[in-house]
């Protein structure tokens, strides 16, 4: 095992909005300048803290979307307290605070050789996209399969990029509100995932209900629970 430095305690640091990129009608990617940002692993997240003038503050966690640098993709939540501010109010040059990168478990390392299954529910695609991007940066040959559940094609984040996947990445969409109302099911995972005998590393991210459903399906298909890593959004 490579010698790694003990990282030191995390504290809040200033991040300045540098650029904005629209992803869908309701999601935007925000790129931040963060002085002395250490590199991060795909799958990690940051905690964001916003403070109002009277000292009131609140925090949320967002996954890093990028392989390098700090990019967060924020999905606007109706009546949300934080996402409408990040998506529509915060301007280039203005600051937020963030803490991270956080998390060494829900990560993919290019040195991992097992085939990878990524299952995304809605904005759960974000940390999985960081893994896909990191794979492309290092020109990895590890086979990846992505199953991405979204309401309609218009809700697909990173649609253009996923239309031109790097070699060895297969992408399958499950649309839940396009023509008929449906949910991701056993057939989707069985057909478009890896057989359990391939012993893939599985990463499932999305709302809690979605993650529970998919994790149960994977176990029912014979995947080892310890090879299934989940990140529930709550």
């Amino acid at each position: 095992m490579a010698r790694t430095a003990v990282p030191g305690r995390l504290s809040w640091r200033r991040a300045t909005l540098a650029a904005i990129r629209d992803e869908t009608a309701t999601a935007r990617t925000l790129a931040f300048d963060v002085p002395d940002w250490p590199s991060h692993m795909p799958g990690q997240h940051v905690d964001v803290r916003l403070t109002a003038e009277d000292g009131y503050s609140t925090q949320r966690s967002y996954s890093l979307a990028s392989a390098d640098g700090v990019e967060l993709t924020v999905q606007q939540v109706i009546d949300g307290e934080v996402s409408p501010y990040l998506v529509s109010v915060l301007k280039v040059g203005e600051p937020i605070e963030l803490r991270g990168p956080v998390g060494g478990w829900f990560v993919w390392r290019p040195t991992d050789t097992a085939p990878v299954l990524l299952v995304a529910g809605g904005s759960g695609i974000v940390p999985l996209m960081a893994m896909i991007r990191a794979r492309r940066v290092v020109a990895s040959r590890v086979p990846f399969r992505l199953i991405y559940s979204a309401r309609t094609p218009g809700d697909v984040i990173y649609a253009d990029e996923l239309r031109r996947p790097a070699g060895g990445l297969d992408v399958h969409y499950v649309f839940t509100r396009e023509t008929v109302r449906r949910h991701i099911g056993v057939a989707d995972v069985n057909t478009h995932g890896w057989p359990a005998s391939f012993e893939p590393d599985c990463f499932v991210c999305g709302p809690t209900g979605f993650v529970e459903t998919v994790a149960d399906i994977l176990v029912a298909l014979g995947h080892q629970p310890r090879r299934i890593k989940t990140e529930r959004f709550g």
Binding site: L50, T51, G55, E94, E97
Partner: protein, 217 residues
């Protein structure tokens, strides 16, 4: 020390721990509502569901509420006993330590004065215990004189499980973590015994008007 975000601090002062202001961020609307909001609270119209664990499911035919005195005497109530006793319909404001306040909430339940009638005790404190393992503590005198109820209806409907149903404790003059959901009993104790959140840094008493959120406040 005034906790961060307390009402009344109009100027931005460099208190240790205060963060960098993000321009244009306001958060949930915070206002005084003519003196009905304790310091540091904001008004909510919905009813947030907070929990330290999974929601217990308690069938009514198994439900039991026990008042246990310091002398080892138990006073047991089954659901039918609770339904047989005169109930009240208090309308109260509730204040959560996570800073939301909900005004004019309406409940139906049995007053603790009724339930403690005939209970002989020299105890000064109460330790509430819930299905699922939650606990909280308060002085016994804060449960009497019309200050507390075992409630089983909220807003005219049976109390939903995620809000503490079938029955919860309601002690609205203290922070709402003291109003134990899924309550199944009260132990009367001679000494104050800290409960679930009190052993993790929250205040033993919890008066929202004195902003007693944490130990040492």
């Amino acid at each position: 020390m005034a906790p961060i975000g307390s009402q009344g601090s109009s100027s931005f002062c460099s208190v240790r721990g205060v963060g960098i202001v993000s321009p244009g961020f306001h958060g949930r609307p915070r206002g005084d509502q003519a003196g009905r909001l304790p310091p540091g609270q904001y008004l909510t119209e919905d009813f947030p569901v907070l929990s330290a664990g999974p929601t217990p499911r308690v069938p009514l035919d198994e439900w039991e509420f026990v008042i246990a005195t310091e002398a080892g005497q138990d006073y047991r109530w089954r659901w039918s006993d609770l339904m047989a006793v005169a109930s009240q319909t208090p309308t109260v404001d509730i204040h959560c330590v996570t800073k939301w306040t909900k005004l004019d909430t309406t409940w139906r339940g049995v007053s603790l004065d009724t339930m403690l009638e005939g209970v002989e005790t020299a105890a000064d404190y109460a330790f509430a215990i819930s299905y699922g393992g939650y606990t909280t503590n308060m002085p016994l005198q804060d449960l009497v004189d019309g200050q507390a109820w075992i409630v089983y209806e909220f807003d005219g409907e049976p109390l939903a499980p995620e809000h503490g149903g079938p029955a919860r404790l309601l002690v609205p003059h203290l922070y709402f973590w003291k109003s134990a959901k899924w309550v199944r009993g009260i132990r009367l104790t001679l000494a104050d015994e800290p409960g679930f959140w009190e052993t993790a840094g929250y205040h033993d008493y919890g008066d929202p008007w004195l902003e007693q959120r944490y130990q040492g406040d």
